[in-house]
């Protein structure tokens, strides 16, 4: 049920609710409870009234001012542990600057598609609109009653923030301190951290490419010995940028750059020099992907949390790369298929085998996501790159913390696209309204 907040000018520090509602929430009259709106909390006296509209909550004006409650949108209520939450209050950290945020407001409407199931305050904002001193965020509130949908307002720190933009370290730390677990997809990490965190767990390590951040000739030799080749990669490069593939032919090192045909041959001394120039890179075990008609195939697993608060797979999209690249980075002449169809096409699996493989992919990705949650903080929206090698074994190549949401559109699956955009908001509501 949704409720309207009505300002009460005649009293101070009180909240009045219909008697039947109080009973169903388990609230006793004339008690002092904590009222929460976003991260702001206030002890208030509660009274139950017989004679008010059953969907109205009367809140004294000083409380509305102190908590920065917007009285034009409708709210849900939750009462637990003597705390009454009016909400949800959800902030989406989307824009790089206020100017850009304003410019793209219409694009952000996609996040509000399920507003009827969300209710409360749903706003978009950017870094420069955060006032840590006064604990106020300025931003744009989604108001379905307005013809142009958005209204610029001041908000308290919300119950949940979904991050999808670069941030300064200072703001990042400030928000983490203020928001705790309510700030999700907050922490970005690179390939080395990913390996470092997950490789101690045998069940996870099994599906990860061995990685080291010590770029030395000895390590290159070790990887060549073990895997007949090695990748030299940027720690946080993406889309195939900054990748070298190294092989050894007799005593010469053969280096291929960025999936191009440009091949360099280096002697041992040249190689030492080359590696010293790339010391901030990583060495990584190459995964021999199972190809389909000479195309490398990789699987993008869209793993998100939703209103259940748990990880679930929104969909899998497989990209069949162009025929020559050393990785499957999707280029102009590649194509894409939905995950199950791709498994059937690429491996000739029947329906049941494809189902089992699909489940296995999801399970491995979920186990890793849970572990990353445990170690690095809280996430709600991940794009995981998975590869399947020549022995049909599943490898997790990379976890993207600000994943491209347009993947479903390349297979023209609009329902999946809308879900990808809606799930983080549903999860944000789950966090904002769960109580403690």
């Amino acid at each position: 049920m949704v409720y309207e907040i009505v300002s009460n000018k005649l009293s101070s520090n009180t909240l009045s609710i219909p008697i039947a509602l109080a009973a169903s929430l388990g609230i006793e009259s004339k008690k002092t409870i904590t009222l929460s709106f976003g991260k702001r909390r206030l002890p208030i006296a509660i009274t139950c009234l017989q004679s008010i509209n059953k969907n109205n909550i009367l809140v004294s004006e000083d409380v509305i001012t102190k908590l920065l409650i917007d009285t034009k949108v409708k709210y849900e209520l939750l009462f637990s542990n003597n705390e009454l939450i009016i909400g949800p209050v959800i902030g989406l950290l989307l824009g790089k600057s206020e100017k850009r945020l304003e410019k793209y407001l219409n694009n952000y409407l996609i996040y509000t598609m399920l507003y009827e199931q969300i209710n409360g305050v749903l706003f978009v904002f950017c870094e420069e609109q955060i006032d840590f001193t006064n604990e106020i965020i300025t931003g744009y509130l989604y108001d379905p009653s307005l013809p142009d949908n958005w209204r610029k307002c001041e908000f308290p720190f919300p119950g949940a923030i979904f991050r999808r933009v670069e941030l300064s370290q200072k703001t990042l730390n400030g928000l983490k301190e203020k928001m705790g677990e309510g700030f999700f997809n907050s922490q970005y990490f690179d390939k080395w951290q990913f390996w470092n965190w997950l490789s101690p767990f045998d069940e996870l390590k099994e599906h990860l490419a061995e990685t080291t951040n010590k770029v030395t000739l000895a390590n290159v030799e070790k990887f060549l010995e073990k895997y007949n080749g090695v990748y030299l990669k940027l720690k946080d490069g993406s889309r195939g940028k900054g990748i070298y593939y190294i092989e050894k032919v007799e005593s010469q090192y053969v280096i291929m750059k960025n999936y191009q045909d440009e091949i360099t041959e280096l002697s041992k001394d040249q190689m030492i020099k080359f590696l010293s120039k790339h010391s901030i890179y990583l060495l990584q075990q190459p995964i021999r992907l199972h190809t389909f008609e000479d195309r490398k195939v990789d699987y993008r697993v869209i793993l998100q949390k939703n209103e259940t608060g748990h990880w679930q797979c929104t969909g899998i999209i497989a990209r069949f790369g162009n025929t020559n690249a050393i990785s499957s980075n999707f280029k102009a002449n590649g194509f894409a298929l939905e995950g199950t169809s791709a498994l059937k096409t690429q491996f000739g699996y029947d329906e049941l085998t494809a189902f089992k493989k699909y489940q296995e992919i999801i399970r491995i990705c979920t186990d890793m996501a849970c572990k990353v949650d445990e170690i690095a903080g809280s996430y709600g929206d991940l794009g995981i790159d998975v590869g399947i090698d020549e022995d049909d074994k599943i490898w997790v190549i990379e976890m993207n913390k600000r994943p491209d949401h347009d993947f479903p559109l390349i297979i023209k699956d609009r329902k999946m696209y809308y879900l990808v955009k809606s799930n983080p908001v549903l999860y944000a509501k789950y966090i904002a309204m769960r109580g403690y």
């Binding site: 748990h310 199950t340 809606s422």
Partner: protein, 449 residues
């Protein structure tokens, strides 16, 4: 982590685990511990070994007490309430008597185990006469994952039970005594009970057609006067069987029903004639009357949506999929079994909304949300459900209506009618994943990693 169980020759009741595992479970300081497998518990001496392998050693006598079959080599372990649990041990209670079961007859239950890889442990199949309450064991069948076959024998009573049949109160009591409320899908409720429970809920009420008991004939007359068109449905009916359509046209009443694929219409001049007919033809106390919702049709075929709702490996209610059903041409009901066809809901919603995808999506999510809310309300009534099928229709103004809830082993082959094998496998494997969660072995953040 998966563990294999082996025996050691020690006279005292003993369990031995790798030291690293004991440390992870935070029980390395203990000398003895209670272990439980299924519903059986034993206090044993706790020891450790240094083998790197994932092996649990049980002393011979204890191993025999737990009646574990030799063909299972993937158990999971966890400590909860000071008890070391080894499992999962999941049971399916099926129809029939133990003597009647043949491998051929129980073959179909293997369909629930297609994702055994993520279940592990001991999966059992049994009948009501195979329950031994005193010794906490069952006489029945266990799934052998190596042979992909059911093996007959005596096994520990499972810690959770998925019911594939309705049960009598006496069996309910037995189960409750053994495992508390950890058995699901046992409740059968009729259409009237469903209406009463759901209409209590403010969020659902607007989705329910007005419904009255047939027994109270004045109410029936009032309903027909108010809505002109009504359905008379048997409370316990399924799949559209035995439904009459009663409509008021001018001063006349038309009663329409289906016999062998044909619509038969009887016309009555007066309400008294209708009442006389109904009293003589049907047992009024077993029927309800419902306002007829003019559901959307496509080429004269009634259309509604079967929402499949189930609990997943995290114990959350989810909708694995939905199917649009189309009735027979001009039939009053939309059931596949009465000659309809099925189609994926997204596709039919896009057609209904003429490719306004945003509207289609919002409606899709509204249908899902309504189904999930129903489940939560029923659960609030104390029903322990694992999966059900909910029929939801849409009228010409695109309002949703709750038509029916099928909780008596809803037919999952409907996914196959829509040619959606992935959905079929998903809903087939879901109940045991939920059962695993219920036995406290499933879900996220498993300690075993």
């Amino acid at each position: 982590m998966k563990y294999i169980i082996k025996t050691i020759s020690i006279p005292n009741p003993t369990i031995s685990l790798p030291l690293a595992v004991l440390e992870k479970l935070e029980i390395s300081e203990r000398n003895s511990i209670i272990i439980s497998i299924g519903a059986i518990k034993e206090t044993v001496t706790l020891m450790h070994h240094d083998n790197r392998d994932q092996c649990i050693y049980l002393s011979n006598a204890i191993y025999k007490k737990f009646l574990l079959p030799e063909f299972i080599d993937a158990y999971e372990i966890k400590v909860e309430n000071e008890i070391l649990q080894i499992g999962p041990v999941i049971g399916m209670l099926i129809r029939g008597k133990i003597d009647e079961l043949t491998k051929q007859r129980i073959k179909i239950y293997k369909n629930y185990l297609i994702d055994y890889k993520h279940l592990n442990g001991l999966i059992l199949l049994f009948t009501t006469d195979g329950i031994d309450v005193k010794n906490k064991l069952i006489y029945g069948y266990a799934f052998n994952p190596k042979e992909h076959e059911w093996e007959e024998g005596i096994f520990p009573f499972p810690s959770v039970v998925f019911l594939r049949r309705p049960i009598k109160e006496s069996i309910r009591k037995k189960l409750f005594g053994l495992i508390g409320n950890k058995f699901f899908n046992s409740h059968v409720f009729n259409k009237w009970e469903m209406w009463e429970w759901l209409s209590d809920n403010e969020q659902i009420r607007k989705y329910l057609p007005e419904t009255v008991l047939c027994e109270n004939i004045e109410n029936v007359q009032r309903l027909i006067d108010a809505h002109k068109e009504t359905f008379i449905k048997p409370m316990a009916g399924m799949q559209g069987a035995g439904i009459f359509q009663l409509s008021k046209v001018g001063q006349e009443f038309n009663l329409c029903y289906r016999v062998k694929g044909k619509n038969i219409i009887t016309v009555f001049d007066t309400w008294e004639a209708v009442e006389y007919y109904l009293r003589s033809e049907i047992s009024l106390k077993n029927y309800i009357v419902q306002q007829r919702i003019p559901l959307l049709t496509k080429e004269n075929r009634v259309m509604d949506v079967r929402v499949i709702v189930g609990k997943n490996h995290n114990g959350d209610w989810i909708v694995p999929g939905m199917i649009t059903k189309f009735g027979d041409k001009d039939s009053i009901v939309s059931n596949i079994s009465s000659g309809g066809s099925a189609q994926k809901v997204w596709k039919s919603l896009c057609e209904t909304f003429q490719d306004d995808y945003k509207k289609a999506f919002k409606k899709y999510m509204e249908i899902e949300g309504l189904a999930l809310t129903c489940c939560k309300v029923l659960e609030g009534r104390g029903l322990h459900l694992g999966y059900i099928g909910i029929d939801i229709g849409m009228d010409e103004n695109h309002n949703l209506w709750l038509i029916e809830i099928n909780n008596r082993s809803p037919d999952m082959t409907i996914a196959l009618d829509a040619d959606d094998f992935q959905l079929y496998y998903k809903i087939k494997s879901a109940p045991l994943h939920y059962a695993k969660w219920l036995s406290s072995f499933g879900g996220e953040r498993r300690g075993g990693l």
